[in-house]
């Protein structure tokens, strides 16, 4: 079964748009069609973002929503330690690195992101990126027409 690392943007798009591919990806995870993986960074970033743009309640509900995704694996900080210092030359923004390292530490085979900028960097040689739409297509599920497949 596919082990897919879900980037924070997938959750933020779900919160922001009706019927997005991101929401369908989360539904597919809840249906057990792939194994979802996130990192402790995902929780922190989503919380930071929602506290800045939305409400404390939404931040709290999202934490519960993510935490209870069936089959979820959360990559903790200690698992990133062994990869510290690696792959820094393959991304422009070092703040993307913990996610790439979490993907590698958890031995994922897909990295689902709405951030096309990241998918064009040299890191794509070691990470298999997919937009939410591309993952749905790979799973043989219906998609919705959205800009950049988000």
């Amino acid at each position: 079964m596919i082990r897919a690392y879900l980037d924070t943007g997938v959750f933020l798009v779900f919160l922001d748009r009706d019927d997005s591919n991101s929401e369908r990806v989360l539904d597919a995870a809840a249906d057990g069609l792939f194994l979802p993986v996130v990192s402790f960074h995902t929780f922190q970033e989503a919380t930071h973002n929602l506290l800045a743009r939305r409400t404390k309640e939404e931040a709290s509900w999202l934490r519960y929503f993510v935490w209870t995704l069936p089959g979820l694996e959360v990559v903790t900080a200690d698992r990133l330690e062994s990869l510290r210092g690696e792959y820094g030359d393959r991304v422009a923004d070092p703040s993307d690195l913990p996610h790439v390292r979490a993907y590698l530490a958890a031995e994922c085979d897909r990295f689902v992101t709405v951030n096309r900028r990241l998918t064009r960097m040299a890191i794509r040689e070691v990470v298999v990126f997919r937009s939410p739409r591309e993952l749905l297509e790979e799973l043989g599920l219906p998609v919705v027409e959205t800009p950049q497949g988000i």
Partner: protein, 83 residues
């Protein structure tokens, strides 16, 4: 994560179903079944609340703006954790 004990009274028929599901190997034991059911309820309820909050907003955030806000959050969290 620390766990806590709670006592739940269940109908005999519900328990019989749970035992059957455990017997078939789908769950390790009654606790595993009940824990899974509780998590499922939390997930669905949290999703419902998030969808309700979404439907109350007039329009979605423009995507470039959403990405920019995510980048800002990512940098802030990165600074906080990794220095």
């Amino acid at each position: 994560m620390a766990s806590h004990v709670t006592h739940v009274r269940l109908a005999r028929e519900d328990l019989a179903f749970i035992d059957d599901a455990v017997e078939s190997g789908r769950f390790l034991d009654r606790t595993d079944f009940i824990r899974s059911a509780v998590r499922l309820q939390i997930h669905d309820l949290a999703k419902e609340r998030l969808r309700d909050a979404r439907s109350r907003r007039r329009r979605p955030t423009p995507f470039p703006e959403l990405l920019a806000s995510l980048r800002a959050s990512r940098k802030a969290v990165h600074r906080e954790i990794w220095g």
